[in-house]
Structure formats: structure tokens, C-alpha cells
């Protein structure tokens, strides 16, 4: 039996054939598999970046095999459809009203049994506004589990790109936070306003400037976004042993 290293080396040899294959017709274009469902909540401002989906969807289609829908759905925590949404997005600037016990229980069950939530503090002020409210609610949803900084070798930083800079409209944190349950991180939290960096109008013009890094910071925001979405659809796939030697080698390049 050949070693896994040899197997992968041999795989590299056939990479040429892999990329030179004719793309043929569009693959399953009519049936997008991925869409973003945004959480509506009471109080605060639940939709600070109403036009963020178009650009990130476009990026997904351009760079990845994910067939994403440009449609954005909105759900409340009490909505029975919540459990049909594999990817929840939640954002806000200000403090929002406390969730009811039932809403917290629904979210806890959703996240415990495989759901995923990307939450963003658009204001970016620690301990204030949305940040304070979100942390308060997460403590209620997962008692004893705090949002924690995700380590640089977390799968979310390796799921598509090898990400070491967290982009966004603003640069509050150089890291992402998350709640980890076993090998799965069902909640990822950012204060850099990723969606603000992705937002553009119908003519394609960016709606927000990225400060202080400019367009490089916006590019990093897209890379971070793509990685988060790929992570939500593949979990810790990149932790499989087969990926290890490649990722290590590229990180050392």
C-alpha cells in the first residue's frame, strides 16, 4: 500500500488533466445550493447593509464551485423555516431587545444540531451597542461557552484561501471570534463589518470605503467571506490529513 504522501504526490501529477478538462456546459446553474438567510430581530438595526449579497454571491460563483443564489431571505428566530436555512447571517449597529426564552431555545437547537450563524457588529465598539447585546444573548443561548478568538490554524482560515488578514469595512479586530462545540464552530463573530465591505449599488459601485487598508482590505474581506461560507458548507474538511502537507508547504512558501 502506498503512503498518503505518495498518493498525493501522484495526484499532483494528474492535476494537469484536471484543469485541462473541458468545462462543458454550465453545471447545475439553475439550482443554486447556497443562499444567505438574514436574521430579523426586535430593536436596534437588523439590516445595516441591505445590499451586501450581490457582490459576495458573485465572488462565490467566480472563485468557487458553489452555486449561490443572489436572493437574500430574512427570517426571525421564531420562523419555522429557520431550520431549513443552512447559513444564517445576523448584523447590527445598536443594542437590540433581549430574545425570549423560546427564541433562545430555538437558536440553541438550530446551532447545536448543525446550523451556522455569522454575526457582525457593524459599529465595531467593544462592549457597546450590538456587541454588548449579542454577547449577552450568546451567553444565554450557550451558558458556559464564551465567544473566543479563533486560532490562526482554525479551519475557517484554510477552507478556501489561506487567510491571515481579516478584512472588512473597518479594522477593529485582527481575528474572528466564535463558539466552538466539539470540532464545529457554529457561531462566527466579526466586528470588522465584512458585509459593509461587500456592499455595492446596482451599478457596481462600492457603497463603503474600507479604512484604513483601502481595496486590499476589501479583497481580504471577500477572502474572509468566501472562507466563512465554504467553512459553513464543509466544516473541518481542511483538517483531514490529506490536506496537511499541502497547507504546511504553502504556508512556508
Amino acid at each position: 500500500m502506498i503512503s498518503r504522501r505518495t498518493l498525493l504526490r501522484m495526484g499532483l501529477v494528474c492535476l494537469g488533466g484536471f484543469f485541462s478538462g473541458s468545462p462543458g456546459r454550465a453545471l447545475a446553474g439553475a439550482f443554486p445550493q447556497f443562499y444567505i438567510a438574514q436574521v430579523r430581530y426586535r430593536g436596534g438595526q437588523w439590516d445595516p447593509n441591505p445590499q451586501f449579497t450581490d457582490a459576495i454571491t458573485n465572488e462565490l460563483e467566480l472563485r468557487t464551485s458553489i452555486d449561490a443564489s443572489r436572493e437574500r431571505r430574512t427570517v426571525s428566530l421564531a420562523d419555522p423555516e429557520l431550520f431549513s436555512c443552512p447559513f444564517l447571517y445576523m448584523a447590527g449597529k445598536y443594542e437590540f431587545d433581549p430574545w425570549t426564552a423560546k427564541e433562545r431555545e430555538i437558536l440553541r437547537r438550530y446551532l447545536t444540531f448543525g446550523g451556522f450563524l455569522l454575526a457582525e457588529d457593524v459599529m465595531g465598539v467593544k462592549g457597546f451597542g450590538f456587541d454588548a447585546a449579542f454577547r449577552r444573548e450568546m451567553r444565554q443561548v450557550f451558558p458556559g461557552r464564551e465567544l473566543q478568538k479563533l486560532p490562526p490554524d482554525h479551519s475557517v482560515f484554510q477552507s478556501f484561501y489561506l487567510v491571515n488578514i481579516i478584512g472588512g469595512r473597518q479594522k477593529i479586530n485582527a481575528y474572528l471570534e466564535g463558539i466552538v462545540i466539539d470540532n464545529w464552530t457554529p457561531v462566527i463573530y466579526s466586528q470588522n463589518d465584512l458585509a459593509g465591505a461587500w456592499s455595492r449599488d446596482r451599478s457596481g459601485k462600492w457603497l463603503n470605503e474600507c479604512v484604513p487598508g483601502g481595496e486590499a482590505q476589501r479583497l481580504a474581506a471577500f477572502k474572509t467571506g468566501v472562507n466563512i461560507i465554504v467553512y459553513s458548507l464543509t466544516s473541518d474538511y481542511k483538517k483531514d490529513l490529506v490536506h496537511h502537507p499541502f497547507i504546511k508547504r504553502r504556508q512556508n512558501l
Binding site: 502506498i2 501529477v13 484536471f18 453545471l27 464551485s65 431550520f83 438550530y110 464545529w184 512558501l253
Partner: protein, 731 residues
């Protein structure tokens, strides 16, 4: 022991009065006085003669009454003498079929001694009982002896002799000495036999002329795991050869696995040899340890010992290839990772050839998809291949697909998961995969996004994959509560397939179909929304256990995990040729069993099935007429199970070397002796029989008044006295 009446009886009387004698004397005197008074009172009316008659009659009746009170008994004595019995034990074990010291077999030799020397001369004088020592200790008729043949087994001679203790004065054992218990070293422990039954042994066979190399023991684990080393131990025994080196071969079926050699310096040695073996393939393996035949071997069939070994995987290796990151992939991956018995290698196509990458290589985590290595070389190392919504034509060529077909044909499992690319735009119909699938794609495009509920088909209600609960009704309810699927592929079930789940639409379309190709199993799940069976149940307040169970059971069924098979067979230890073999079969209570047996040549043999007592339990039986490997098949409506059963030969593992020392030790332990066939056997036997002769007296006591004629006499006397009194005019 037989009894003969030698002297007839002497009788004597005895009395045991019920009242003291002086009272009886007083009563007698009173009776005499009363008779005299009666005589005087009736003499005037009847005359002297008649008065005397009546008075004497009354007096005699009174005397009879007194005799009754004396309680007189008659005692008879009979003297008996015993005729000693002899039990003759004739060894009919398999080794007695081997050549004797002259012409014919050892049994022929023993029968000749028995018929011409023993029975002819002893029957007249002694009580003879004849027993055969074969499968059991069995009493034989004298007329059976000429046609007697060796049997299949060896009874424990020590147990047999113990059983006969007290039934005879002498035992005569005609044997070659191989009848010793399997764990006996050849000598008897103190007290294992008593001297109450001396044993004369008459040895058969010639130890000096015996030559044999045998595999006297072989031991292997009945269950082994693929890739894990197992040890197989064997013992090789030498009888009659000196200074020889013998090769010992370990084979897996007809394939030589390894060989070692053992060197014997002298006859009588037994040497152990151990083999290390790493099974490379799952399934039932017919292993054997054997030695080549040597010149002049007395038994050639004990040079091999067959062993059956079931090889399982310790982990199920799954290759999971997904065409795109999707909730379906993620939930299925999490379910597979949840199972500790699964070793998962997954590849997700993160970008297609049409995608544009905007960063240098050092910023990408993508690795190449080693398609050629996987599907040309490594595939056989997996148990299950899953294609999840994979556009085949982009990544796999005809050779890869042929290799997948061969993988399934030779026992691998394949699952095709639905989605827009399930049929690869209809191209799958012109690939080798089309041949192995249990479904055909109904139309193009075959995929549609409309909510469809599913229901369990009749087959699905009992099939292991969809039977999520033992309770049939609960299982149906569980599936009926599953949320609808948002996308399905329209398929048609082929004749080779069996739909387990179908859409509730009209007409229904199969959603989950299973089938087989060659030795492998195949499954088609026509949806990329099966993950909703997990989250949907959570939304209803339950949990995702039904989804996890479904994935686990699908994997186990596809990889033929015995733990999932509702059919179990419990095989007998190791039947021998000609001996009935009983197999316990357990199936689901609501199933019907078909039991078949195929012989070593693959021909179906007669077999029987009867109820095992409890619901779902059966006993299948057949008789292996000769040694070899028999294939047993139990089949129900939803599955089947095959097991191999090795039937041993009579001579397999048989150490047929005549063991006259063991016979000597029996004789010594019981106070008997070893005699040769040519000795004067009657003279040898006589002293034991004389010593065994015994006499004894039997006494029998009969009370006088318990005799019916004594009572009849009294009644007749009373009647006569009454009659005379009436006739002579007295009241």
C-alpha cells in the same frame, strides 16, 4: 451378574403369638370346659354320639382360633450361586480401520479373536456381554460382530469402563490403544479406575510398523481484522520416522501464504509451529495447515487441518467525493465523522475548471484531486465510494469509471447521491456506472426543485437501511413525519433495484433505491436535501438521531456489516463427515426463512428447517457426507447471510499409532493384565472368574393364616357345624 438356583428349599415353622402363652393356655382350658358343658347339655336331646360330634367340632373351631392367635409362619430357604459375567469391549473407533499386524484391518484382527477364540469358548461357561467402543458405548448382539465396521468417533474408554463397574466380574478390551481420552498423556491418574473390574487387554495393530506425520492440532482465531496480524498455531506429530525435516504449509484457500519446516530426530515427537498472517481481504477465508505426504504413511488424510476464519474490517474506509460544498455534504460528513467505526477520506471540488483564482498558490488551500491515483490504484483499499452530486465527465475518464465498476463487482460498495449533477446531464447512461446502478434516470433534466414528501415502500418497511426502529409502526410514523425534500431527481427503478423510499407524488418516484452488482452493493439517493431529515426533525422538537441512524445504517448495509444483518447463524463446533450438523438461524420475527446448503462442489444438498422454539428462531440441519467446506445460505425477503462450515474427516487429526502402553496402564490400574491374541485366553480368564464366583441363601417367610386355603377350611368347618346343629334340631 447372572443368578442360578442351585439348591431347593428347606421349610420350617415359627410362631409369634399375639397374646402371652399363659393367656392362650387359660383360653384353651376354658374352651375344653365349655365343650364338656355343651356335651352334657345336649346329650339328653341328641343322643351321645351326636353330642360328641358337635362338641368336638365346636372345640376344634376354638382351637383353630387359638392357632390363629399363635401367628404361625412357614419359612422356606433357597440357596443360590452366581455365574460370573464378562464384558467384552470391542474398539470400533476410526483407527481400527487401519492395517493390523497381519492381513486386514485392526478391527478384522480383533473380530477374529473375538469370534474364534473368545465367544466360542466362553459363552458355554460364563455370562458374556458384548459392547462396541465407537461413537458411544453400545451393547452389541453376537450376530452383529461379523459385519461390524469402524465408527466415526472414539468414546472415552475410561468413562466407559467406569460405567461398567459392578455389572461384570471381568472386562476384556480388544483395542489398538488409541481410545485414550483426548487430553490424556497416556498414563492413568491414580484412582481413575478401580480394581472392582479387572481389565484384560488384547492389543491390536503393530506399533513398530506404523508410519505417520500428522497435523495433530491447529488453532486460529475465528474472527480476524483486515490488516491486523493473527497467529495460527499448529502441532505436528511424528510417528515412525527418525531424523526427518518436514515442511509445514499455511494456505489461504489454494494460495500458499507461508511455509516453515520442523525437524524430527526420533519417532513419537510432537513439535509446535506458529505462523503470522495478515489478512488482506475481508470475507470468509478457508485456511489450512498441511504437510506433504511422506513415504509409507499409514494415514494420508491427517496431514492437513482446515480452519475457517472470518476477516472483518476494524474500520469502514469511505471515499466521499462531493461535486460542490453544500449543506448535503456537510451534514453527511458530520454524520459519518460521528461514527467512530468510519475512516473517512473526502474530497470536495471547491472550484471547477471555469472558476478564476485571484491569488497566488501560497494563498490557496486547494489541493489537487488525485483522481488517477484514487480510481486506478487506491480504490480497492476502500469499502465504500460515495459520489455526491458530482459531474463525472469533468473529473473522471472511462478507465476510472470502469475501475469503479470492477470495484463494485468484486465486493465494494457505491452510493450515488442526488442533486443537479447526479446524472451528469444524462451522460451517466453511457458510462460503465450505468450498468451497476439500480436506477435509470427518467428524463432530462432529471432534477427538479419542488417540495416532495417521502414514504416508506413495503420493502423499505423491513429493509435494514430504512428500518430506523425495531417497532414497525413507529418506523413508519418516523418516516411519515420527515419534512419534505426541496429537490429530487426523477428516477425509475430497474429490475435489479428495490425502492425503499418513494415520493408521495403521483406517480411516485423512487427516492432511495438499493441494489447489487456482482459481489457489491449499490445505493441511489435521489436528493441533495436528505440533511433536512435531520434539521427538520429538530425543528419539530425532536433531534437528528433518525438522520444519523439512517446514514449509519446505509453505510453498514452497503459495506455488509454483519452487525446490521438481521439474520444470524450459529454454527456447530466442527461436525465430522456423516454426522448431522445443526445450525441455529435467527431472523426478524415477521420474516420467512429459506435455508440452503451447498456442498464442496457447489451442488445444493438436502437440508431441513424446523422451528427453534422462539419467534424468529429456526434450526437448519443437514448431514455432510464427506469432509470439506459447506456453504450455508439463509435468506429472507430483505437480506441473506452466507457462512462456511468445515466438516472434518474421520481421519483428520487422528493419531492412529497403536498405543499398547496405554492398554498396559489400564490393565495395571485395574488388576488385570495384557494378553496376546495367541495366548490361551480361556486359561488367562479362568482365575479371575473363579475368584468372582459367589453363593448366597434366600429365605422366604409366609404367615399360615394369610394362606387362602386355611381361611377356606375354617369357613367350611363353621358351615358344617351349623348345618349339623340345624339338621339335628338345635337352634
Amino acid at each position: 451378574m447372572n443368578l442360578h438356583l442351585t439348591t431347593s428349599s428347606l421349610a420350617r415353622l415359627s410362631a409369634a403369638p399375639i397374646l402371652p402363652l399363659w393367656i392362650l393356655a387359660l383360653l384353651l382350658a376354658a374352651g375344653v370346659a365349655a365343650a364338656i358343658l355343651q356335651y352334657r347339655s345336649i346329650r339328653g336331646r341328641l343322643g351321645e354320639r351326636k353330642a360328641i360330634v358337635l362338641s368336638l367340632m365346636r372345640l376344634s373351631l376354638f382351637c383353630m382360633l387359638l392357632l390363629f392367635m399363635l401367628n404361625i409362619s412357614v419359612t422356606t430357604r433357597k440357596e443360590h450361586a452366581t455365574v460370573p459375567s464378562i464384558v467384552i469391549l470391542l474398539d470400533t473407533s476410526p483407527s481400527m480401520n487401519l492395517p493390523g499386524s497381519k492381513d486386514g484391518t485392526r478391527l478384522d484382527e480383533a473380530k477374529q479373536v473375538l469370534l474364534k477364540r473368545l465367544l466360542a469358548s466362553l459363552t458355554q461357561t460364563y455370562d458374556i456381554r458384548l459392547y462396541g467402543l465407537g461413537d458411544t458405548l453400545r451393547e452389541l448382539g453376537k450376530e452383529e460382530v461379523p459385519t461390524l465396521k469402524p465408527e466415526n468417533k472414539r468414546v472415552n474408554v475410561i468413562e466407559a469402563l467406569k460405567k461398567l463397574e459392578g455389572r461384570a466380574s471381568l472386562a476384556v478390551l480388544l483395542s489398538d490403544g488409541t481410545v485414550k481420552p483426548p487430553d490424556s498423556s497416556g498414563s492413568l491418574s491414580n484412582g481413575s479406575l478401580s480394581k472392582s473390574l479387572p481389565v484384560l487387554t488384547i492389543p491390536a495393530g503393530d506399533p513398530a510398523a506404523y508410519r505417520d506425520i500428522l497435523v495433530s492440532a491447529a488453532k486460529a482465531p475465528t474472527v480476524a481484522f483486515m490488516g491486523r496480524q493473527v497467529t495460527i498455531d499448529a502441532t505436528i506429530a511424528n510417528r515412525g520416522y527418525a531424523n526427518v525435516t518436514i515442511p509445514v504449509l499455511l494456505k489461504d484457500g489454494a494460495r500458499l501464504v507461508t511455509a516453515k519446516s520442523v525437524h524430527f530426530t526420533k519417532s513419537g515427537e510432537s513439535l509446535s509451529v506458529s505462523f503470522s498472517f495478515t489478512p488482506g481481504e475481508t470475507g470468509n477465508h478457508m485456511m489450512s495447515v498441511s504437510t506433504p505426504l511422506q513415504a509409507d504413511e499409514s494415514i494420508t488424510s491427517n496431514n492437513i487441518a482446515n480452519l475457517s476464519m472470518k476477516v472483518l474490517r476494524d474500520k469502514t474506509r469511505i471515499l466521499f467525493v462531493s461535486g460542490t460544498p453544500s449543506p448535503n455534504y456537510r451534514f453527511m460528513r458530520m454524520a459519518l465523522k460521528n461514527d467512530p467505526s468510519v475512516d473517512l477520506l473526502s474530497f470536495v471540488i471547491l472550484r471547477t475548471p471555469s472558476n478564476v483564482i485571484n491569488v497566488p498558490l501560497q494563498e490557496q488551500s486547494l489541493i489537487p484531486f488525485p483522481v488517477d491515483t484514487l480510481f486506478s490504484e487506491e480504490l480497492k483499499g476502500f469499502d465504500l465510494l460515495i459520489f455526491d452530486n458530482l459531474p463525472l465527465h469533468v473529473y473522471l475518464n472511462q478507465n476510472h469509471l470502469e475501475s469503479i465498476k470492477d470495484f463494485v463487482g468484486s465486493g465494494g460498495a457505491f452510493a450515488l447521491i442526488g442533486g443537479p449533477n447526479m446524472s451528469d446531464g444524462g451522460r451517466i447512461a453511457s458510462t460503465p456506472l450505468n450498468e451497476i446502478l439500480p436506477v435509470a434516470f427518467a428524463k432530462e433534466p432529471d432534477y427538479s426543485r419542488s417540495a416532495r414528501s417521502v414514504r416508506v415502500t413495503t420493502a423499505g418497511s423491513v429493509h435494514p437501511v430504512t428500518r430506523l426502529s425495531v417497532d414497525k409502526a413507529l418506523n413508519l410514523r418516523l418516516w411519515s413525519e420527515m419534512p419534505p425534500l426541496d429537490g429530487v431527481n426523477d428516477l425509475n427503478v430497474r429490475r435489479s433495484g428495490m425502492a425503499l423510499l418513494e415520493s408521495t407524488s403521483s406517480p411516485p418516484h423512487p427516492v432511495l433505491t438499493v441494489g447489487s452488482y456482482g459481489k457489491g452493493r449499490v445505493m441511489a439517493l435521489a436528493t441533495d436535501f436528505s440533511w433536512k431529515w435531520g434539521t427538520g426533525m429538530v425543528a419539530q422538537g425532536g433531534d437528528n438521531s433518525a438522520y444519523l441512524r439512517f446514514i449509519e445504517r446505509a453505510v453498514r448495509w452497503l459495506t455488509k456489516d454483519p452487525a446490521l444483518n438481521p439474520i444470524t447463524m450459529t454454527l456447530p463446533e466442527r461436525p465430522e463427515e456423516g454426522e448431522d450438523a445443526e445450525i441455529k438461524v435467527k431472523i426478524a420475527e415477521d420474516e420467512r426463512l429459506t435455508f440452503s446448503v451447498f456442498g464442496p462442489e457447489g451442488i445444493k444438498l438436502p437440508s431441513q428447517v424446523k422451528s427453534g422454539g422462539a419467534p424468529g428462531e429456526y434450526i437448519g440441519s443437514f448431514r455432510p457426507e464427506r469432509k470439506g467446506t459447506y456453504r450455508l445460505r439463509a435468506e429472507t425477503g430483505t437480506g441473506s447471510l452466507e457462512e462456511l462450515l468445515v466438516a472434518g474427516g474421520r481421519m483428520e487429526k487422528l493419531d492412529g499409532a497403536p498405543d499398547h502402553e496405554f492398554l498396559s496402564s489400564i490393565s495395571a490400574a485395574t488388576g488385570g493384565k495384557v494378553v496376546r491374541a495367541e495366548d490361551d485366553l480361556v486359561s488367562e480368564i479362568r482365575p479371575y472368574m473363579e475368584k468372582a464366583k459367589k453363593r448366597y441363601v434366600e429365605e422366604k417367610e409366609v404367615p399360615l393364616w394369610s394362606l387362602p386355603y386355611a381361611v377356606a377350611f375354617v369357613v367350611a368347618w363353621l358351615t358344617a357345624e351349623w348345618f349339623l346343629r340345624r339338621r339335628w334340631g338345635l337352634a
